[in-house]
């Protein structure tokens, strides 16, 4: 795999590859060597106790957090190391945040089109057409002119998903996308994620939505203490976890 990856952009390369990823904050080693391949079209769920390094791992995948060592590749193209055009690579990695992080001074459409215009250089009309299409995919094209403050939390998160989708990324990262939502709004966001996955998007999702993971994920990863402790299909990880730490964690969720 590694040699394929190094050749760059190979058709059979994983959508996202993480190799020997290490990250410390001061003396605190948060990631102690993460290896992970996410296949094209795969939806991978990451579970783990608070502080186990899930967010840090995700944020290293688009270098919002700078890894200390190891590499990250998108479809075989390096994201880490010398000579990487980070801004270009980041367009291939969508990110959805727990707190939405919509731009409050821009409309839903403005949020979605900003990068299309300023990064991908689309003309206004072209960007707006693409933006409406992305909003359509999350069921919010009728809210295009609304500002974030005029949208519910669930709608804001769906706009955030549209903002990432509009760039047509190779992989999307979700960091607890429903944790900031009122329970009754969670379902809409999960439905959108299920649709996006159904259309073939590669997704790496940190979430505590166990039920959703059970029936939507292709693979579940359990992280603890900065390492991947266990991984497998959801029925295996949830149904018959082999590691004691996984069992202890899942029992707390009554999974």
């Amino acid at each position: 795999m590694a040699s394929v990856a190094a050749s760059g952009g190979a058709a059979d390369a994983a959508a996202l590859s993480v190799r020997a990823l290490h990250k410390s904050f001061g003396a605190d080693e948060v990631l102690k060597g993460i290896d992970l391949d996410v296949r094209r079209g795969e939806m991978v769920f990451v579970l783990g106790p608070s502080g186990s390094g899930k967010s840090t791992m995700l944020r290293c995948c688009n270098r919002l957090e700078e890894p200390d060592s190891g590499e990250v590749l998108v479809e075989g193209d390096r994201l880490t190391g010398p000579g990487v055009n980070l801004n270009r690579m980041r367009q291939r990695i969508g990110m959805v945040f727990q707190s939405f992080n919509l731009y409050p001074h821009l409309s839903a459409l403005g949020n979605v089109t900003l990068a299309l215009r300023r990064v991908q250089g689309m003309a206004k009309a072209e960007a707006e057409a693409a933006g409406i299409e992305a909003l359509n995919r999350v069921g919010l094209s009728d809210r295009a002119r609304h500002y974030p403050s005029q949208l519910s939390g669930g709608q804001q998160q769906r706009v955030a998903i549209a903002r990432a989708l509009a760039l047509k990324p190779s992989v999307m990262l979700f960091d607890e996308p429903t944790s900031a939502l009122d329970p009754e709004l969670v379902g809409d966001v999960l439905d959108v994620m299920r649709d996006v996955a159904g259309q073939g998007m590669t997704m790496l999702v940190v979430s505590h939505e166990m039920k959703f993971a059970r029936d939507a994920a292709d693979r579940v990863i359990f992280m603890d203490g900065g390492v991947i402790v266990e991984q497998g299909p959801p029925e295996q990880v949830f149904g018959a976890p082999t590691e004691a730490r996984t069992r202890a964690f899942l029992s707390r969720f009554h999974g």
Binding site: N87, M89, G94, M95, F97, L114, R118
Partner: protein, 224 residues
């Protein structure tokens, strides 16, 4: 009472000097507009430069902002007006007043806008950068618009405070409202031109003070 009216509201003096005060008002307005535009633009630009967190840029900016906020503007005005000619720089009193007050406003504006930039949530940067926007584009199109909105009230107050300081131009002979009024006062040996000046200042600045109240209410952070 009669003495009072004669001193402060002498009809003949009022009539005679009203045109002069109006001319002064023109100068005050022109100076104020130029100072506010240039000062806020310069202050915002400096705050943006500081956002790059390059010590070689930030340190001089911070030192400049602190010195110009610490010194009384009158000291700077006198220093520039009487000092610069000695080193061969000859500037009109109008120019000196414009430059100094612009630099003072810019120093305050830099600190105010900088506070807005740092108060903009980190998630805004991260969301923008994660879509491939450069640092500069993120600063200009995501962070700065939010930061400016946040600091409109203090920025407005500071701008009003600075424009009132155009009255300091009197001491170096700028023919603004107060400059004209004091000249007229010494010619007429009557305080009525100063009354006119006060009225002119109220007419000019009261709308802005009222507008700043409105802005403050409009852009107040929720719950504050």
């Amino acid at each position: 009472m009669e003495v009072f009216l004669d001193q402060f509201l002498n009809p003949a003096v009022l009539a005679k000097y009203t045109p002069l005060i109006l001319k002064g008002a023109g100068v005050t307005v022109l100076l104020s507009v130029l100072i506010v535009l240039a000062g806020i633009a310069l202050g915002t630009a400096l705050a943006c430069l500081r956002a790059y967190r390059i010590a070689a840029l930030s340190l001089p900016i911070v030192i400049y902002a602190d010195i110009f906020r610490a010194l009384p503007p009158l000291v700077l005005i006198l220093l520039a007006y009487f000092g610069l000619p000695n080193v061969g720089v000859l500037l009109s009193s109008f120019t000196v007043l414009f430059l100094i007050l612009t630099l003072v406003l810019a120093a305050f504006a830099e600190e105010i806008v900088w506070a807005g930039i740092t108060a903009t949530p980190k998630g805004q940067w991260e969301a923008a950068r994660s879509t491939g926007l450069t640092f500069t584009w993120t600063l200009g199109h995501v962070v700065l618009p939010q930061a400016l909105r946040m600091v409109i009230p203090p920025l407005t107050n500071r701008a009003i405070a600075i424009t009132k300081m155009t009255a300091l131009g009197m001491v170096i002979g700028v023919p603004d409202i107060l400059g004209q009024a004091t000249t007229a006062q010494s010619f007429s040996a009557n305080a009525s031109p100063l009354t006119l000046a006060a009225v002119a200042y109220v007419i000019l600045f009261l709308p802005f003070v009222i507008a700043s109240r409105w802005l403050e209410a409009r852009f107040a952070p929720p719950g504050a």
